[in-house]
Symmetry: C2
Subunit: 145 residues, 2 copies
DNA sequence: TTTGATGTTATCTTTAAAGTAACAACTAGT
DNA sequence: ACTAGTTGTTACTTTAAAGATAACATCAAA
């Protein structure tokens, strides 16, 4: 398949809503910033809404972030939009008659879980607020030079 | 795309070579344990050979692991076979005219790199020897009950 | 020399994600 | 109420990366 950009796009949407809160926040406008399409933006916003991170409404009302960005972690966003939340994947069809094939799945499942936990622990330390601050800082440096 | 099972399959191959070192180690035999096909097994073995983890030869010679399994980490295997070694992906087409679109790529690249490092640090602590030991232990428990 | 397995490459198939489109549902303004 | 405009949702199409399959040259060993 293609690689998923959902997490990146979801961060993009949230940052956009925060930074451009007084401008046009239609799915069309956001899609132009993401260089994607309004349908995808709305689907991602639905996932963020389901996770309790974003409030949206039909009609012209602007979406709003429902929690303090300092209390929203990259992990929260990751879990909200990545339906497949495993970073490493096990081939679950191995020959059970073989010492290796019959046991490797559980062995790897355990090993991969520790890797997943390490990654998620790191994701939990990164907040939406810090990402937005970083975006703003880079913009400042860009416009100064 | 499909999810990659290369890492799992590569561990499977190495464990198989170690555990069945006195039996048939043809790509055909290994493929039956992986429930895959000989072509894929040979391609993965080629990657492991290129990384200096496995010695193979044409003809009937059995492949051999070239380093002490206690000195081969999951990270070594990961780097040997995963051509795409990024766990999280950035959508690299965003609108540069926008504060978010113009800066989020670098922001996320940095954030994702810390997540990648956390995952790889954990992978480095897991050795092929420990994985094989775990497989053997599970097999013992299976045959006892 | 023969046999048989590997090394390598090319092509087809599969699958999950993104792109596209359509339309019902709802909100706000008139 | 009615209209305009946007969201929410779903179905379908396209794309891309991985795996499956196959073919064959290459080499090692008997």
């Amino acid at each position: 398949m293609r690689y998923s950009h959902k997490l990146s796009d979801a961060v993009h949407i949230l940052a956009y809503v925060e930074i451009y809160h007084d401008d046009d926040l239609s799915s069309m406008a956001i899609a132009q910033s993401v260089e994607s399409n309004p349908g995808l933006v709305r689907r991602l916003m639905a996932a963020l809404r389901a996770a309790g991170l974003l409030a949206t409404q039909r009609g012209t009302a602007a979406p709003e972030i429902t929690r303090d960005p300092a209390d929203i972690s990259l992990l929260d966003i990751y879990r909200a939009v990545e339906t497949n939340d495993h970073l490493l994947h096990i081939d679950d069809k191995t020959n059970p008659q073989c010492i290796v094939g019959g046991n490797i799945q559980e062995t790897l499942r355990e090993a991969y879980a520790t890797v997943q936990t390490a990654a998620e622990t790191q994701m939990a330390t990164i907040t939406l607020a810090s990402l937005i601050a970083d975006i703003r800082q880079r913009e400042q440096q860009r416009t100064q030079s």
